[in-house]
């Protein structure tokens, strides 16, 4: 059974700090790893990673994948109160018949204090 473990489960930091969120996975026939941000509504897509060692960056957020060690990190620099959310990590796998539903971790609940 595919498994995604995120750490820490919750994190409280002050505005301006840099945070690193971790995601480790066990999956058969790995295809991709995705990061989502979830506030009080729909998860919104942040990054999709398929290759090791290639950093993806969007503003203050960046992410990288290590397919040898089976983990990914999400970095947020110069945090702002608007970054407060649950950050979800998910993996996709190649399956028979075209099934490609994602397996999610429990998420990291990030709180940014002013």
């Amino acid at each position: 059974e595919d498994k995604v473990v995120q750490s820490p489960l919750s994190l409280v930091v002050h505005e301006g700090d840099t945070v690193t969120l971790n995601c480790s996975y066990e999956v058969t026939n790995f295809r991709s790893l995705l990061w989502y941000k979830q506030e009080k509504k729909a998860p919104t897509f942040l990054f999709m990673l398929t290759s090791s060692g290639i950093e993806k960056k969007s503003g203050r957020l960046s992410s990288i994948l290590d397919k040898k060690e089976l983990f990914s990190i999400l970095n947020i620099t110069a945090t702002q109160t608007g970054d407060s959310a649950i950050y979800l990590c998910a993996v996709g796998a190649y399956s028979g018949g075209g099934a490609d539903g994602l397996t999610f971790g429990k998420g990291t609940h990030l709180i940014i204090q002013p």
Binding site: F45, S95, G97, G101, L102, K106
Partner: protein, 115 residues
């Protein structure tokens, strides 16, 4: 481009009652997913449709849950009869396979409370 639409946004029912949720995916997206997200957990896949066919329903509790996507566009998820443990947010997502390579777009969800 309009996002994934879901209704209702909230629903409260008593156990043993039935309930239905509706989802309209992003226009042109052939693949539609239903996920269940229990408080404090990540979303869990219930069922995946490709056009109007079921691709994966291995985690759907088929004794009480059913879903359909008759015309390959919008979809309905039904629970009958509901149990207390069905209290969760039900998320619908869609993707533009095959080029999306796994990227899925989520709707706002329906929060179900079973009392």
């Amino acid at each position: 481009e309009a996002g994934v639409a879901q209704s209702p946004r909230y629903k409260i029912i008593e156990k043993r009652q039935s309930v239905a949720f509706w989802c309209n995916p992003i226009s042109g997206h052939a693949t539609l997913y239903w996920y269940q997200q229990i408080l404090g957990q990540g979303p869990k896949l219930l069922i995946q449709f490709q056009n109007n066919g079921v691709v994966d329903d291995s985690q759907l509790p088929k004794d009480r849950f059913s879903a359909e996507r008759l015309k390959g566009v919008d979809s309905t998820l039904k629970i009958q009869p509901a149990k207390l443990e069905d209290s969760a947010v039900y998320l619908c997502a869609s993707s533009k396979r095959p080029t999306s390579a796994g990227e899925q777009y989520f709707g706002p969800g329906t929060r179900l409370t079973v009392t």
